[in-house]
């Protein structure tokens, strides 16, 4: 019995427009100004980056952003050589999780280095033209 076995379709719209909430918007505006900040919970004093509008631990409201020294430490990293479908990438990329002293969380971002190390100190390399996104940091470089 003849059959048409597949039916191609999509579940797409044109584009999503994500907003970042009151604290997140200030965080993105700080990025646009080339500054790293973290959100501080008034009750437990933890600093959160990426920022939070509420403390996940005690559910208090978080309003205040604090400036953070743009010096991070590579806590773990990977050298990505192939894409999900197995094709080699045009150029290898180093993806890392970068922690900042006394800050809970950190940033998952690219590091431009030929010799990635655990515990390596890095600082952000900002793009000239910034739009208020985590990609305003082009990548991190070793200090």
């Amino acid at each position: 019995m003849r059959r048409i076995k597949h039916f191609p379709e999509v579940m797409e719209i044109e584009a999503y427009i994500y907003t970042a909430g009151p604290v997140g918007t200030k965080w993105l505006e700080a990025l646009r100004a080339g500054r790293l900040t973290a959100a501080r919970c008034p009750k437990c004093g933890r600093l959160f980056m990426p920022p939070k509008r509420f403390c996940p631990y005690d559910f208090e409201e978080v309003k205040e952003l604090r400036e953070v020294e743009p010096v991070g430490v590579v806590e773990t990293y990977t050298v990505v050589e192939r894409d999900f479908y197995g094709e080699p990438l045009r150029e290898r990329k180093v993806l890392a999780f970068i922690k900042f002293p006394d800050v809970e969380g950190g940033l998952i971002h690219y590091v431009k280095t030929d010799n990635p190390q655990m515990g390596m100190k890095v600082r952000p390399k900002w793009r000239e033209e910034r739009r208020g996104l985590v990609t305003d940091i082009e990548y991190f470089v070793e200090i």
Binding site: F7, I13, Y16, I17, Y18, G21, T25, F54, D58, F59
Partner: protein
């Protein structure tokens, strides 16, 4: 169905509820919306996050917020970190289903205090238009190639109901007028229209005849939350716990083009399940206030008949006679419903559960119905004219 006399060793009560504003566009991220509602519910119950041991999340299509595995994403905002957190999903009926799932979290004895949070942020799906996401609700092979608009299916059901029961559009418009005026008493309301008239509804833009613009609830961002507790905990938390007396839900066959849309049989079955558990045999008399799901005005009438609160084709008559007003004998949607307060899909159903919670406790302020309230009902609907969820609550 095991219909034995259902007195459970674990009675479960609602002890707190919270809501955000319902608006077409809110700046908060979905996590923050969930947190705003959850925090308000905890505050009202006089609890903090560390008192919660399980979390149940409700949110409708991921394609609105634009986040895959949305349950994981919302866990933080719903207070679910380092805890068992689960997301249940029955389309639009999710809002009333969240407390149903939270009920067996407690009734099973595995959890003592459960946070049930429903959230929806539809404004992320901005381009080309929020409504565009509804095209992915249809059967991808048999229906979607016709490039449908979701309002088609509601209009077909409404027209079938009008045809079968001989209902006029004027009768149906009365529901929209009632709810959009009632909403003016609700602090979260998106669409309070104090002076709306039937004429306004009948003159509003025709979208898909017989559905016109003011027949519909708006798309919204918003979140709602309730706190459930075991009997022992509930008595310690508050002296006015509102018991969950009955739960019920039913999903009909997917193939809505094979069945008559004039009467929601699946809502009747869901109500029957909840009534049996709550020991209700004459809902018209024993239910003091009800919040049936009203994404469209005709749906309130349609669901009143499914819930047995009106005989078949009788709901428009009761509405015309004012029986369903706040000072009527059977107040329906005193909150203002989805038509007036707003329709952030999953959170809309839980807003109704919160309304019944406040009505039973006499805390609905301007919206409080005139007659004394001992037993109330909230109902949600969803999927392709297919899912009915019912919860009966009371003293």
């Amino acid at each position: 169905m095991t219909g034995r006399n259902l007195n459970f060793k674990h009675r479960v009560a609602v002890v707190g509820a919270g809501l955000t504003l319902f608006r077409s566009r809110l700046l908060e991220t979905p996590q923050e919306l969930a947190w705003l509602a959850a925090k308000q519910a905890l505050d009202e119950a006089g609890l903090t996050l560390k008192d919660i041991d399980c979390v149940v999340i409700g949110s409708a299509p991921d394609a609105f917020d634009g986040v895959h595995m949305k349950g994981e994403y919302l866990a933080e905002g719903a207070g679910g970190i380092h805890k068992p957190t689960i997301r249940v999903f029955v389309g639009g009926a999710t809002g009333v289903f969240v407390p149903i799932a939270a009920w067996w979290h407690v009734a099973s004895g595995l959890c003592k205090r459960v946070l049930a949070v429903a959230e929806e942020k539809m404004s992320h799906a901005a381009k080309p238009h929020t409504q565009y996401v509804f095209r992915y609700i249809w059967d991808p092979i048999v229906e979607k190639p016709l490039n449908p608009n979701l309002i088609w299916i509601f209009a077909m059901e409404m027209h079938r109901y009008m045809h079968k029961c001989g209902v006029k559009k004027e009768d149906i418009a009365l529901v929209s007028v009632k709810n959009k005026r009632n909403a003016c008493g609700h602090p979260s309301a998106q669409l309070c229209m104090p002076n709306i008239t039937v004429d306004d509804v009948l003159k509003s833009e025709v979208l898909v005849w017989p559905v016109q613009l003011l027949d519909i609830s708006p798309t919204s961002d918003g979140a709602a939350a309730v706190v459930l507790a075991s009997e022992e905990e509930a008595r310690r938390i508050t002296d006015t716990p509102v018991w969950i007396k009955g739960i019920g839900w039913t999903l009909d066959t997917t193939h809505w083009t094979n069945r008559d849309l004039a009467y929601p049989e699946y809502v009747r079955r869901a109500a029957e399940m909840a009534y049996r558990m709550a020991g209700i045999d004459n809902p018209r008399k024993q239910i003091d206030v009800a919040e049936p799901y009203d994404p469209f005005d005709y749906k309130e009438l349609h669901h009143m008949e499914g819930l047995g609160l009106a005989k078949k084709c009788e709901a428009p008559i009761l509405t015309r006679e004012g029986v369903t007003q706040r000072d009527g004998d059977l107040p329906i949607n005193p909150s203002g419903g989805l038509l007036g307060v707003g329709n952030p899909i999953a959170a809309a159903g839980l807003m109704k559960v919160a309304e019944i919670f406040w009505q039973v406790r006499g805390e609905a302020g301007e919206r409080q119905v005139k007659k004394p309230v001992y037993t109330g009902l909230a109902q949600a609907w969803g999927d392709l004219m297919q899912a009915g969820t019912v919860i009966v609550m009371g003293i």
